[in-house]
C-alpha cells in the first residue's frame, strides 16, 4: 500500500497518450498527448468545436477513445467506467437532478459513497457556503437562476474532493462581478485543496489569469501548451498568436539566421530581425508576429534617440488614430504592402494622422512563425 502510494505520488495527475476520438468522419480529438501535474490548473482553450468538451469527456470516462490511453494518478483508466474514476465533472449545462433539492443534489456523490448522514450534511453545508448558496438547500434547481445553478453544479463536484476536477466552462452564465469572484475562489481552492483542475473556457483573459498552463486547441489537436507568458510571448503558430490576444503579422522571407535571431526581408519595412529558435534556410517565406502594445511610436522628425542594437526601427505613415480611453490605437502603413497596428498608453498627446512616424520595438518582442 505504502509503496504504491509512494509511486503514485511520483506519477502525473492525468496523462493522455496519443488519444483520439472520431465521431463517424469527424475527428473530434486527434492524437492528443498531455501530461497534467498534481495540483496543476490546466486550461484547455480554443474556438467552438475544437474538441475541448470531448477531451474532458474522455478523461471523465463518458467517451471511450478511438485510440490512445489515459492514466489518472499512474493508474490506467482507459477501460474504467466514470463511477470508478476519482474524477468529478462540472457540466457545461449544469445537469442538476431536477427531482432533488439542492442539498440532495450536492450530497449525491457522498450518498453514493455511503457516508453517514451527519457527515453528508456537514460537508454539503460547507460546499454550499463555498459557492455562497448557504441556506438554499431546500430549493429545487428550477427555482434558481443560471448562475446559481452553475454554482450548485460546482458544489456538487467539489464536495467529493476528487483527485481531478473537470470544469467545462463553469462560469459561462455568471455576470462579470460574480465571475471574477468565482475565478478567484476557484484558483484559491485549487491552491489550497490541491485538487488538479482541468478547465475549459472560451475566454482567453480567464485562461491567462487563472491557469498554471494553457493548452491551445484547434481542430482536435493541441497546438501549444505552456504558461500564460510562454503562450503570449512566444506563440508557436500563427493561429495561437492570433487566438490569444491581438497580433500583427509581417510577411517576408528569411535572409539570414544567427544565434537564435533571424533577419527577415519584409516588403515596405526592410530587414526586420526577430527571435527564431531553430535555424531556417534562406529564402523560406515566414511571418513575423508582433504584439501591438510592444511597438513604440514617435514622430519621425525626432532623432531616433537611443535606438539600441537590439531594436528594429521602421518608418511609416499614420493612417488612423483611435481614441480608446486608457490607450490610443494607431494604424500605420509601411508602404503599400504592409500595415501595423500600434497600441500605446494614452499620455495625453495623439500623433497626427497623415504624418510620417517612426516605429521601433525590441527584437525579443517579435518572433518568426513559419507560414
Amino acid at each position: 500500500m505504502s509503496v504504491s502510494t509512494y509511486m503514485n505520488a511520483e506519477a502525473p495527475s492525468v496523462e493522455l497518450r496519443g488519444v483520439s476520438k472520431r465521431f463517424g468522419s469527424v475527428s473530434a480529438v486527434d492524437d492528443v498527448s498531455l501530461t497534467v501535474r498534481k495540483g496543476e490548473f490546466l486550461t484547455l482553450l480554443g474556438p467552438s468545436g475544437c474538441g475541448k468538451t470531448t477531451s474532458l469527456r474522455i478523461v471523465a470516462g463518458f467517451e471511450r477513445p478511438s485510440g490512445g490511453t489515459i492514466h489518472i494518478d499512474g493508474q490506467a483508466v482507459t477501460a474504467l467506467p466514470p463511477n470508478k474514476r476519482n474524477v468529478n465533472t462540472v457540466f457545461q449545462n449544469y445537469a442538476l437532478f431536477p427531482h432533488m433539492n439542492l442539498a440532495e443534489n450536492v450530497g449525491f456523490g457522498l450518498r453514493m459513497k455511503r457516508l453517514g448522514r451527519a457527515d453528508i450534511e456537514r460537508r454539503v453545508d460547507e460546499a454550499m457556503a463555498l459557492v455562497r448558496l448557504e441556506g438554499l438547500g431546500k430549493r429545487k434547481p428550477t427555482q434558481l437562476s443560471g448562475g446559481q445553478q452553475q454554482r450548485v453544479a460546482l458544489a456538487r463536484a467539489l464536495v467529493n474532493r476528487p483527485a481531478v476536477l473537470l470544469l467545462d466552462e463553469p462560469l459561462g452564465a455568471l455576470d462579470l462581478k460574480l465571475r471574477r469572484a468565482m475565478q478567484f475562489e476557484l484558483r484559491h481552492l485549487n491552491q489550497s485543496v490541491g485538487i488538479t483542475f482541468i478547465y475549459v473556457t472560451h475566454d482567453q483573459e480567464e485562461a491567462l489569469t487563472m491557469s498554471d498552463r494553457i493548452a491551445v486547441m484547434s481542430g482536435g489537436r493541441i497546438l501549444q501548451i505552456g504558461t500564460a507568458q510562454e503562450i503570449y510571448e512566444a506563440p508557436a503558430t500563427r493561429f495561437v498568436a492570433d487566438f490569444i490576444g491581438e497580433s500583427n503579422f509581417l510577411e517576408g522571407t528569411i535572409s539570414d539566421w544567427e544565434n537564435g535571431v533571424a533577419t527577415v526581408d519584409v516588403a515596405g519595412a526592410g530587414a526586420i530581425r526577430a527571435r527564431c529558435v531553430d535555424r531556417i534556410a534562406t529564402g523560406i517565406p515566414v511571418s513575423v508576429a508582433l504584439r501591438p502594445e510592444r511597438i513604440i511610436i514617435e514622430p519621425s522628425e525626432q532623432p531616433a534617440a537611443g535606438v539600441g542594437a537590439g531594436e528594429n526601427v521602421v518608418r511609416g505613415r499614420l493612417l488612423e488614430a483611435v481614441y480608446a480611453g486608457s490607450t490610443l490605437q494607431y494604424a500605420v502603413s509601411l508602404g503599400d504592402a504592409a500595415q501595423l497596428i500600434v497600441r500605446s498608453p494614452n499620455l495625453g498627446q495623439a500623433a497626427g494622422v497623415g504624418n510620417d512616424v517612426s516605429l521601433r520595438w525590441s527584437i525579443a518582442d517579435c518572433s518568426v512563425l513559419v507560414a
Partner: protein, 269 residues
C-alpha cells in the same frame, strides 16, 4: 368614426357568438348522455322515463346483490390490474431500450410498438383469436389479459418515451460521474425522472382496459368482464337501473384516473 368601428365589429361579435354556441353544443353532445346515465342510476322506478319521480340508491343496492354483475366487476379488476402491471413493466423497459437505441430505422421500431393501438380492435381481436385457436388454447380471462396487454403497452411506452426524450442524457452521466453504478443511476436518477410518466401511462392504460369491449369480446371464455356483462344483458332486456349504476361507477373511475394522469403530466411541465 365610431359607426364604422361598430360596423366592423358586428360580424366579429356574431362570429364569437356562434362559436360560443357551437362550443356549448359540443359539450352538450358529449356530456348529456353521460349525465342522463348518472341521473337514471338514482331512479327508484325500474323503468327509465323522464322526468324521474322517485330518487333512491336502490339501483346500487341491487347492483351489490347481483352476483353476476359483481363477479364481472371483480373479473374486470382482475384483468385490468394484471394486464396493466405486465404492460407497465414491458412498456417502460421498451421505452428505456428505445431511448438508448442509436441505429437507423429507430422510428420503425417505435411504429411497430405503437401499431396495436392504431389497428382497429376488431383486427387485434381476430388476430389473437386465430392465434389462440391455432395453439388450442382455451379462451378465458387469461386470453383477455393477453389482448389487453397489447394496447396497454402502447400507452405506457408512448408516455415514457415522450418523457425520456426530454430528459437530457447528461442526467445519467452526472450520476455516473458522482459514483453511481448503472443500477443506482437507474434507481436514483432515471426512474424518478420518468416516474410521473409511468404513472400517467398506467392510469390511462387502466382506464382503457377497464371498459374495453371489442378485443375482450373476441377473447372471452365463459367469464365476463363488466363491459361484456352489461352488453350481454342489453341483448336480453332493456337498460335497468343497476346497469346505469354500474356505468356510473365506470364513469367515476375513468374521470378520477384520467384526471390524475393529466394532473401528473401537467405538474411535471
Amino acid at each position: 368614426m365610431s359607426a364604422v368601428m361598430r360596423e366592423a365589429n358586428a360580424p366579429g361579435r356574431l362570429g364569437r357568438w356562434s362559436l360560443t354556441v357551437a362550443g356549448w353544443l359540443v359539450y352538450a353532445f358529449l356530456y348529456v348522455p353521460l349525465i342522463i346515465v348518472i341521473l337514471y342510476s338514482f331512479n327508484a322506478d325500474s323503468i327509465n322515463a323522464w322526468p324521474i319521480h322517485h330518487w333512491s340508491f336502490g339501483a346500487y343496492n341491487t347492483l351489490a346483490n347481483d352476483a353476476d354483475l359483481t363477479q364481472s366487476i371483480k373479473n374486470s379488476l382482475y384483468v385490468s390490474v394484471i394486464a396493466v402491471s405486465i404492460a407497465v413493466i414491458l412498456g417502460t423497459a421498451a421505452a428505456l431500450g428505445f431511448n438508448r437505441l442509436r441505429i437507423p430505422g429507430k422510428e420503425l421500431f417505435s411504429f411497430a410498438v405503437i401499431l396495436p393501438i392504431v389497428l382497429p380492435g376488431i383486427v387485434t381481436g381476430i388476430a389473437m383469436l386465430t392465434l389462440f385457436t391455432d395453439l388450442n388454447y382455451n379462451l378465458s380471462l387469461t386470453t383477455i389479459i393477453a389482448g389487453h396487454v397489447t394496447f396497454c403497452i402502447v400507452l405506457v411506452f408512448n408516455s415514457v418515451r415522450a418523457r425520456l426524450a426530454r430528459v437530457p442524457a447528461q442526467m445519467a452521466e452526472a450520476a455516473r460521474d458522482l459514483g453511481a453504478g448503472p443500477f443506482r443511476t437507474f434507481w436514483h436518477v432515471t426512474l424518478p425522472s420518468i416516474r410521473t410518466a409511468v404513472i400517467s401511462g398506467t392510469l390511462l392504460a387502466f382506464t382503457l382496459s377497464f371498459d374495453e369491449v371489442v378485443v375482450s369480446f373476441f377473447l372471452a371464455g365463459r367469464e365476463n368482464t363488466l363491459p361484456l356483462e352489461i352488453w350481454s344483458r342489453l341483448r336480453r332486456s332493456t337498460i335497468t337501473p343497476e346497469i346505469n349504476a354500474a356505468a356510473t361507477l365506470l364513469i367515476a373511475v375513468s374521470v378520477v384516473l384520467v384526471g390524475a394522469a393529466r394532473f401528473l403530466v401537467r405538474e411535471e411541465e
